[in-house]
Subunit: 220 residues, 2 copies
DNA sequence: TCTGCCTCGGATGTATACAACAGGGAGGCG
DNA sequence: CGCCTCCCTGTTGTATACATCCGAGGCAGA
């Protein structure tokens, strides 16, 4: 059984591998928004045929990271309006997931969230790790909501906003009030006050939106 | 140029054709929830190779109509919990789209909505037409919100709930209070009262949810 | 020189072909 | 008689091959 792990790596389909890699590259900004993604080029780059590349592109298009414009696929462009829309959706959905999840966060969950919170307090944390830890902190509540579609949507929206956050990774996490808001959310979770946690989550998203938007407007 | 129209039909990719057809078949309940969708079978059925079928299945999976379970694709099953989740999401998002869209509904838009409302008053309307008209009525506001992602999400969620509605097409539209709610929404739109229209939309979705849920619980 | 057409290259959409894997059934063994 | 095992069939994932379409670039003509 253990040996099968080696086989398991091989078992991961090429399409999944390409999709995962492309997802990271697009999310992380390595592939510039608006740039064209050629099937042939990616196929050669990953050493596979165009078929798994097609599958991957279709999947990313479903996630909104890629746009299929007729026959050509391009990395979805970024815009202030798009950012606005993404946060509107997140502010609509994540508070609901919070309200549903809070009652099901147990002692172990609180402990994990406390640990993740402490990790984000480290001033020397790498920005990428901060983002990941931040996502894990919130996911701790969301996953307990028992709403598979909602959770998938939340993750999808977070990945899409991450593209904007990656534009100024160096300053993210420096905004002390985001961390303070995390503490307030955790307190509400501890107190099992779902409505409060939901409202704090909404406000937290509004803060995040403001931080990203300010940076975009200042930096261009 | 005109002759090219013939070519234009051919121009619509086979993948798009298969995706469109499958979307209707799944939405309309012709393909039973949970049933397996074989690439080979569909390919032969549509007289194409498996490649466009793969593309179509990936796309439908992105829309949530199909689930890719490892190597096999199945029609996404229906469940009370899923219905609950879908309406939770719709109640979260559609009021926002309403609030954003109402200020931009002009005289022509009100006229179109009035006409659509009248169409739904016809007691002899075919259930399928009622559903379509209903969707058009609400879309009249949503499309003006200027939020492409939100609109796409709303349409996606509506298609997913349509699957449940199709289970009892014959009784839908008979609930007079849904039509009364439409009238109230239209009144709020005429009065340019966006918050009221948003709240009415939310309540309208709650009513729809109740109608569908009652039927499911009563019929099994 | 500018314009228009025409050809060629590259890209995609699709079909066919091949290898690996999963699932089921028949047969053998305990 | 029951269970395990092996084989076989069907399916998927992927590669390769072909037809089609769009655009760039060059060439000829005014």
């Amino acid at each position: 059984m253990v040996l099968r792990q080696t086989a398991h790596v091989t078992t991961e389909s090429a399409a999944a591998r390409v999709a995962g890699s492309l997802r990271e590259r697009v999310s992380g900004g390595l592939l510039p928004p608006g740039s064209a993604l050629s099937q042939s080029g990616l196929a050669e780059e990953y050493g596979v045929s165009r078929i798994p590349v097609r599958d991957a592109l279709r999947q990313l298009a479903g996630e909104g990271l890629v746009e299929l414009r007729g026959t050509t696929a391009v990395v979805t462009p970024l815009s202030i309006d798009d950012l606005q829309e993404l946060y509107e959706l997140r502010e609509a959905v994540e508070p609901i997931a919070t309200r549903l999840g809070v009652p099901r966060v147990g002692r172990a969950g609180v402990a994990r969230m406390t640990r993740l919170l402490a990790l984000m307090d480290d001033p020397d944390i790498r920005p990428g790790d901060w983002l990941e830890t931040n996502a894990a902190f919130h996911a701790e509540v969301y996953t307990l909501a028992g709403r598979p579609r909602m959770i998938a949507l939340v993750e999808q929206l977070r990945r899409l906003t991450d593209r904007y956050v990656y534009l100024h990774l160096d300053v993210i996490g420096r905004s002390g009030h985001l961390q303070e808001e995390h503490r307030q959310i955790l307190d509400a979770v501890k107190a099992q006050d779902a409505p409060a946690a939901a409202e704090l989550t909404r406000a937290h998203l509004a803060s995040s939106h403001a931080v990203v938007l300010d940076y975009l407007l200042s930096q261009g």
